[in-house]
Amino acid sequence: MKKALILALVVLILAPAVFANGGDEKEAGPASVLNWNLGSAGPKTLDPGLNGASDGGDVGNNLYEGLVREQAGIVHPGMAESWELSDGGKTITFKLRDAKWSDGSKLTAGDFEYSWKRAMDPATASEYSWIWEYTNVVGAQEAAEGEGSLEDVGIRAIDDKTLELKLKNPTDYFVSLMSFYHFHPVKKSAVEAGPDGIWASDPELSVSNGPFILTSYTIGEGLVMEKNSNYWNADNVKVDVINVAFIDVASTAYQAYKNGEFDFLSDVPPAEIPRLVAENPEYYIFPLLGTYYYNFNMDLEMWQDVRVRRALTLGIDREKMTEIQGKGSIPAAGFVPPGFVDNKGKDFFETAGTYGIPTDASGVAEAKKLLAEAGYPNGEGFPKFTLMYNTSEGHQQIAEMVQEMWKTNLGIECDLENQEWAVFQDTRTQGDYEAARGGWLTDFMDPMGLLAIFQTGNSYNDPNYNNAEYDALVSKANQTVGAEHYEALYAAQDILMTELPIVPVYHYTDDLLSSPQVKNWSRSVLGTLDFSTASIER
């Protein structure tokens, strides 16, 4: 009797799974399906105005479209057919194309004005509204910080097809920034249909304007996007269905990829990377606009001697470290990563040079000399300090290598300590550390986005670096364009790399796996995925 009961129970539990499976198979078989693992446990929100994370951005970039669409650094017209600059670059007028929302209604310039003012409104409480400071749109920063009125913001829909923007200063990167997911438009009636952006992840309520529409969403499991027939460029969208899974364990997702359950993987297990690089042409590495570094707490007596800071900077072999890490990261000898083009069309990273910081161990001799001059021959007499990082296997590995190199190369000893992210952030902003890991990624195509964080008083100036000349140069760069802008930035990085309040370690990279059956997918310079032009050949 009991056995029968248990058996019945098992059958009962398993039955829905069996039927669910049967149901799925019937639906399968549309022409072109892409299976993609997002690499996170699911986006926090899909509402473009509220979203501040790249997983939501990757999905959003396929559901929505901004004024422009950027693919691999090239800006294509999106919702805007054309745009022109006037008033010395301080006014930008976008001409919108005939575009529709996925519900068939017309998309207007007013929709953009609504979306953006909503996004910057403190009442919306968007985590990303700080970005309005860097758009240089008149009154936007003030409005976002609750000090100005939305009325005074320089965004105006002149008519249904014309959107006019007033900027404080001419801003070279403005148009390409408009492709970023924070600037995607939302439809007012849809937004008001559900609170707190829930409309965006509800297939019933979601209205979008991009190549795909949301047709299914399961918390913690995945979502489904299907081709949007109302998209202006729908004829060129070749993928019919995108199944997105939310798996945040890289090894599980990788195994599923190897089994053919995925065509596209945004997250690859780090230990497999060196092999993938050699063996698998499906593995891609992209530079990311960011830098991994260590902060010195400049308020402490122990870091006052620049020779010590330079010695520690020279005392590590960045090439070996990036080789072990395997992700193709670029050893950093400056703060600005490759990928920014200056007014002369040259790469900022190349032009800036290495400030005498070799990428391998050849700087150790100089480092030892500097330490001796500073009164610590072979590291003797230098106090033992603590190097902090936030909890992660990757950060731990880098810290372990740095610790060992400082010990063997320079005779300087440190302890390692890790803290959970929220605790670590607290520790860093309060300056309650000796040396701590830092990392910075920028969201717009200008070195300003990186160098500005070391200005006095900046919330992200963790070393508490304080240099009036540096501050002046960054401020100057903020107000200028072209040659003046870049000269100020080069000069600023010169100061930063002479004073070295930080030890730059490497420039970030991004990686992914894509089956050869998926063609023509693309990615923005900032790392957002784009399947609007992709196709699948089975």
Partner: protein
């Protein structure tokens, strides 16, 4: 029958003593030890425990590496290597992340040979040993061919010579007997040092279980009524508060003071299962006749608990003490991952196993060594535990 006094005589003092001491009286613990000694498996377990302790304490003295010494060029080298003879008396090994190492015939790593050219499209890497004037071409395209036909994965060719596809032989890694990890540290040495942490944790966890769990549970059950309810609700609360919040709170309040803070964190929450088990046993035992008898004789409470109840509950106590050791070892790894306890590069067995997991597909041996260490320890403790249970159970006491 006629009996009179003349037929009897007084026994001498010696005679009467001889009668009394037929067998030396043994205390509870002496008797337990005697029985433990006769338990073969328990002895195997005891020897195992002693060997592990020796391994942890004395092992590092015989190694030239410390737990933190890195040789980045020798990272991810397995314990067994297929070496190829590419030139006379010149043996090489290719790691799974495509580093070429020169190996002696006996299995010592001599040097890394750096690559001079990487042809990723044709899958041919060239490595150059400038001193020996050797250019070694590695062709690993075979491994990747669809429907692979060759029975080898790759070939070597030195200075344009013939392709070598057969390994010369398989040697054991003399430099790193258990292999090396992702930054070129000896796994053997790290397992030895890790043993110190993990065994300390296992020891502390067992002591905490005994001192707090057993005492707490037996008092609650014996006292019963409101005392029992309140004591066990305290256990419920302790058990339900998320461990991770608790650990972060300790970290923020006291900071990380190494192993000790970790032990405090672990020890203060770890004994709840034991307390519940002992309570359950004592609840049932305390109604049995022998306890009633002891009570009727006026034996005091603590004596009843320590001499009558706990020894009779020794089975579940020892089982859960030994069975909970691995969970303590892995909880330690979790707590130190959050940031409390020993800091990197020092690592416990749990941490070593945890770190090895992400590379399981390519470097399974990195998981194997710490796991094996934990398994051997557990088997030893289990055998010893079984023996102890038999030895300490008063119902099995003879004489």
């Amino acid at each position: 029958m006629n009996v009179n006094a003349s037929q009897f005589e007084f026994a001498t003092k010696k005679e009467s003593q001889d009668q009394e001491i037929l067998r030396k009286s043994l205390t509870y613990w002496q008797d337990a030890w005697r029985r433990l000694k006769n338990h073969k498996l328990a002895m195997v377990g005891l020897i195992g425990v002693i060997l592990i302790l020796l391994f942890a304490l004395a092992g590092p003295l015989f190694s030239r590496f410390s737990y933190s010494d890195q040789i980045l060029d020798y990272s991810n080298v397995p314990p067994r290597m297929d070496i190829y003879e590419v030139a006379d008396d010149y043996y090489v090994f290719i790691t799974r992340d495509y580093k070429l190492l020169r190996i002696s015939e006996k299995g010592e790593i001599l040097a890394r040979i750096f690559d001079s050219d990487k042809d990723a499209i044709n899958k041919i890497y060239t490595y150059s040993d400038v001193d020996e004037g050797l250019d070694i071409a590695l062709d690993f395209s075979y491994n990747l061919l669809p429907g692979k036909e060759a029975d080898y994965d790759y070939t070597f060719a030195a200075n344009g010579g013939p392709e070598i596809s057969k390994p010369y032989k398989t040697v054991s890694n003399r430099t790193y007997p258990f292999g090396s990890d992702g930054v070129g540290r000896s796994i053997l040495v790290r397992v030895m040092y890790g043993a110190r942490i993990s065994l300390t944790v296992a020891f502390v966890a067992s002591i905490v279980n005994l001192l707090i769990g057993v005492v707490f549970g037996s008092i609650a059950a014996y006292e019963g009524g409101r005392t029992d309810i309140i004591m066990m609700r305290f256990v419920d609360i302790l058990n339900s508060i998320p461990l991770i919040i608790y650990v972060i709170l300790i970290m923020v309040l006291v900071g990380n003071r190494g192993l000790w803070t970790m032990i405090i964190a672990l020890g203060s929450v770890y004994w709840v299962t034991m307390a519940r088990l002992v309570r359950g046993q004592v609840l049932s035992l305390k109604e049995q006749e022998f306890v009633l008898a002891a009570r009727a004789l006026g034996v005091n409470r603590s004596h009843i608990i320590s001499r009558h109840l706990i020894p009779n509950a020794i089975g579940p106590i020892i089982i859960s003490m030994t069975m909970m050791i691995p969970s303590a070892v892995f909880t330690e790894a979790f707590i130190s991952f959050i940031g409390l306890g020993v800091s990197a590069p020092m690592a416990s067995w749990g941490t070593l196993a945890n770190d090895a997991l992400s590379g399981l597909m390519s470097y399974p041996y990195q998981l194997f060594s710490p796991s094996l260490a934990i398994a051997i320890t557990m088997l030893s403790f289990n055998f010893l535990g079984d023996g102890l249970r038999d030895a300490l159970d008063p119902r099995l006491r003879k004489g």
